[in-house]
């Protein structure tokens, strides 16, 4: 098992290299000028601009820029943003917020999506099943940013929820319970948006898995043995149907990271998605590269954890490897 994990981690390295190459060159080949804002400021002189160009290495050929970036990345130095802040600090500010949001959303989708998927599979092709499909399709059909904006207006009109952000301005003076309530209030709306988007996929997947398992020989055998239906479903079918879902965790995480960008943007949520979005729009290369690397590492780690979980959950795979 340890050997397997080492092997998997080693496999990550070429992946990271390819990802970094693709993203670096695409960004640098774009005509987007990282200094645009400075250039448009009438009071900034040519000397300042030259200095900035030097600092950001913009005067060197692109492959040298890449090599110097790669060198410092290996050393663990993520460099500075185009505004001169430390990239590592910026990431450190944002990653916990994003993890919090995605963790809640994943937890919610699982706790709602899995049972719904099972119910839909058991009641296959009944009115209930169809209704579930339609309802989850509705959730998937609204452009996320649009849904988010409508929810914001709802928040303003009712006054039930704060308008965007993660904490109130007097957060630091609150008691612990007050703090928890404050954060949860801020999280409700973004979670609703992301939850609606990702629920239907999970629900459908679970339904499909469950259908397949229910159709398999050993379930037929279990039924033939005369076990009660609930025992068949919960003891035998469920375990096997959930296993493939674990592999999805990693991808779901990456998907949320990307899907959350517009939602975070509209809700002014201080997460990684919004940070990358802003960085990409400004061609802030160090920031974009670092966050894409983080995203990739998180994806790979997610997959790895999922695989290990799977091995623990399903001895057959352990044998096969």
């Amino acid at each position: 098992m340890l050997k397997y994990i080492t092997k998997r981690i080693l496999q990550v390295i070429p992946l990271l290299i390819i990802v970094s190459l693709i993203s670096f060159f695409i960004i640098r080949l774009s005509p987007v000028d990282p200094l645009a804002e400075l250039r448009l400021n009438p009071s900034i002189s040519q000397e300042t601009l030259d200095k900035e160009i030097k600092r950001l290495n913009l005067d060197k050929p692109i492959y040298i820029q890449y090599i110097s970036w790669a060198k410092s990345f290996i050393k663990g130095d993520l460099g500075y943003t185009s505004a001169g802040e430390k990239v590592s600090v910026k990431l450190k500010e944002r990653i916990p917020n994003t993890l919090l949001l995605t963790a809640i959303v994943i937890f919610m989708t699982w706790i709602v999506g899995i049972p719904l998927g099972i119910l839909a599979a058991i009641n296959k092709e009944t009115a209930f099943d169809r209704m579930l499909t339609v309802i989850s399709s509705i959730g998937m059909a609204i452009p996320s940013f649009f849904f988010a904006i409508l929810l914001l207006i709802f928040a303003v009109k009712t006054g039930w929820f704060p308008v965007g952000g993660l904490t109130s301005y007097n957060f630091n003076e609150m008691s612990l319970i007050g703090k928890i309530i404050d954060i949860s209030k801020h999280l409700v709306l973004p979670v609703i948006v992301l939850f609606t988007i990702s629920l239907s996929g999970l629900q459908r997947q679970m339904r499909a898995n469950m259908l397949e398992v229910l159709d398999s020989d050993y379930i037929k055998f279990a039924r033939a043995k005369g076990l009660s239906e609930s025992k068949v479903i919960f003891k035998h079918a469920l375990r096997n149907a959930i296993n493939p879902m674990i592999t999805l965790l990693g991808f779901e995480f990456a998907g949320l990271l990307s899907g959350a960008a517009l939602t975070e943007y509209v809700f002014q949520y201080p997460g990684l998605g919004r940070l990358i979005l802003e960085a990409v729009m400004k061609s802030d290369i160090n920031l974009v590269m670092a966050s894409l690397m983080m995203g990739t590492i998180m994806l790979v780690l997610g997959n790895l954890i999922a695989d290990i979980l799977l091995m623990i959950a399903d001895p057959r795979i352990r044998g096969a490897k």
Binding site: I26, P31, V32, R130, T296
Partner: protein, 342 residues
């Protein structure tokens, strides 16, 4: 094909979805005729005019042919407010088949079924023209994605070994970059000096560049299982070329999956286009797309006071929902136990 259609029409939801889509496509196909205004029309004295009110009972309480009044714009300096008042001196009757359009009023009349936008353009007409872009962008992207994905996945799966490993590592790397950011980066690269047709084409290509990798991976998986089947081995022994085997014998086996993937991925392209336009990177003014029309509706004032600007959002919603429902049914028909997450 006919069999599939009958099956689709048997399902209540799929039937509604199918009819909706057919209707939408018919309307946008004849947009030039159905829309009361041309796609370059704008009346700059009528920026943000509300929808025209159509009356069928006149002021004396008698039933008449439908007619409407023109709006006059007035500015209240003390309130800094623009007010639209009806000019009640002249009635404009709505006629069918006038000026080469399905319906309209006389030349000097205004008929804004869904009001106007900031430049005084008829929102209803633009919805129809915009639909042409939004509803086709997905299909066109698929035309690019499928050949690439099929071939890439086919080759990778068929040859296996080091070729497979290399090709799959590359595809995985593309997949590992969160797609939305890749989309933004690519869209930002688009050179500025493009005509709207070129820009549209390139947006299609960009959407395709993001979708192919996942598709190729699934195709590869399917090819891996197909290539060891007897008929493929038989082809090999009679000396058919590799490319021929892939194209003629292996890829056709994946058709059902391809159809499912097609219907299920169209909505994601429609949504992606709207997301790009939200950030100002999609289809550009003065061309209309549902995404860039919706951008105008983002402002708080517009949502509250000019709800007609929200209609593109409604259409996106209807179109995506229809595609999803239809796709679900097709999947159930073709492959009831489908396990692939698409």
């Amino acid at each position: 094909m006919r069999e599939m259609l009958t099956k689709i029409l048997q399902d209540k939801f799929a039937k509604i979805a199918f009819i909706t889509l057919v209707l939408l496509y018919t309307i946008i196909l004849f947009a030039n005729f159905i829309a009361p205004y041309s796609n370059t029309y704008s009346n700059r004295d009528m920026s943000y005019a509300p929808p025209s009110k159509i009356y069928t009972i006149d002021e004396n309480g008698k039933l008449t042919r439908p007619y409407t009044y023109n709006y006059v714009r007035e500015y209240e300096p003390s309130l800094m407010q623009t007010v639209f008042k009806q000019d009640r001196t002249k009635k404009y009757y709505i006629k069918l088949f006038t000026n080469g359009h399905l319906f309209g009023t006389e030349k000097s009349g205004q008929l804004y079924l869904l009001g106007t936008d900031i430049n005084g353009r008829d929102v209803f007409s633009r919805l129809l023209y915009g639909g042409r872009i939004s509803m086709t962008v997905g299909f066109l992207a698929l035309l690019v994605v499928f050949p690439i994905g099929l071939l890439y996945g086919g080759i990778s799966g068929y040859f296996g070994g080091i070729v497979d490993t290399l090709m799959m590592r590359f595809a995985e790397a593309v997949m590992a970059i969160p797609s939305f950011y890749l989309l933004i980066i690519l869209a930002a690269i688009l050179p500025g000096g493009m005509t709207s047709v070129q820009r549209f084409a390139l947006i299609v290509v960009i959407l395709a560049l993001i979708g192919w990798a996942g598709f190729a991976r699934v195709v590869r998986g399917m090819v891996l299982s197909i290539k060891n089947e007897d008929f493929v081995l038989a082809e090999k022994t009679i000396g058919a070329s590799n490319l021929r085997i892939i194209l003629k014998h292996i890829l056709p086996q994946t058709t059902s999956y391809v159809i499912i993937a097609m219907t299920l991925s169209v909505p994601s392209y429609i949504l992606a286009e709207s997301g790009l336009s939200f950030l100002g990177l999609g289809i550009q003014q003065p061309d209309a797309s549902w995404g860039n029309m919706l951008k105008e509706a983002q402002e708080f004032t517009n949502i509250l006071y000019r709800p007609w600007l929200l209609t593109p959002g409604l259409l996106i919603f209807i179109a995506v929902l229809s595609f999803n429902l239809l796709g679900d049914t097709i999947r159930d028909i073709l492959d009831p136990k489908s396990q692939k997450r698409i």
